[in-house]
Amino acid sequence: MSSELRVEHLLGRVVVDSAGRRIGRIEEVQAEREGPEWVVQSYVLGVDGLLERLAAGAIVQGIVGTLAGTRRRRRIGWDELDLNDPDRPRLRSASAGEGRRLSA
């Protein structure tokens, strides 16, 4: 069974783990070419999702010249995100420790 979903609605949605804890907000949807198809490979979650998109940090960085705190980001695979309820995406793995951590 397949259904339709929109990238612009996923953007900014809070992802929780199976225990209901907030993991982060969906910041980016990354796709790769598979033959004629563009297929979603991973999602990038930001801990300060909206601020990241606005990159308020970039201005502060440019002025102060130092990082205003490390922006924590994390990439999860397409199979780690349960989108049965598109408004409330859930992390599929058992613990919150899964998913590769990315530093800014």
Binding site: S2, L5, R6, E8, L11, Q30, A31, P36, W38, D79
Partner: protein, 114 residues
């Protein structure tokens, strides 16, 4: 690797003739069981745009979308993703061009101009 939000969403669309005809307002994914979601289409349209606003605002503006025309661009039509997104479509034949055409007809009645 294509960043759909950074490199596709809200990017300028150019048709077959290089004519600008809007920005990518939406990207439609097909979610499949036991397979990664795949990109199905790009969308241009007022209702798509309004749906991205916070709920209280889009509800209030929802009345505007009664005559909404959404142009769906199947992913097969996408030719290039670079600074802009080039699609193999004739913009003048899309629903999103209707307003442009109506206004152009109106202006054609006025003298002078080019």
């Amino acid at each position: 690797m294509l960043d759909l939000v950074r490199d596709v969403l809200d990017k300028q669309l150019l048709d077959r003739q290089g004519r600008p005809f809007g920005k990518v307002d939406g990207i439609v994914l097909e979610v499949r069981a036991d397979a990664p979601p795949r990109v199905v289409a790009l969308e241009v349209g007022l209702s798509t745009r309004l749906a991205r606003l916070p709920a209280w605002l889009s509800r209030w503006m929802g009345r505007l979308t009664r005559h909404a025309e959404v142009t769906r661009i199947p992913k097969e039509a996408v030719m290039a993703v670079a600074n802009d997104i080039r699609v193999d479509i004739d913009a003048t034949r899309t629903p999103s061009w209707r307003l442009e055409r109506r206004l152009a007809r109106l202006f054609a009645r006025l003298p002078g101009g080019r």
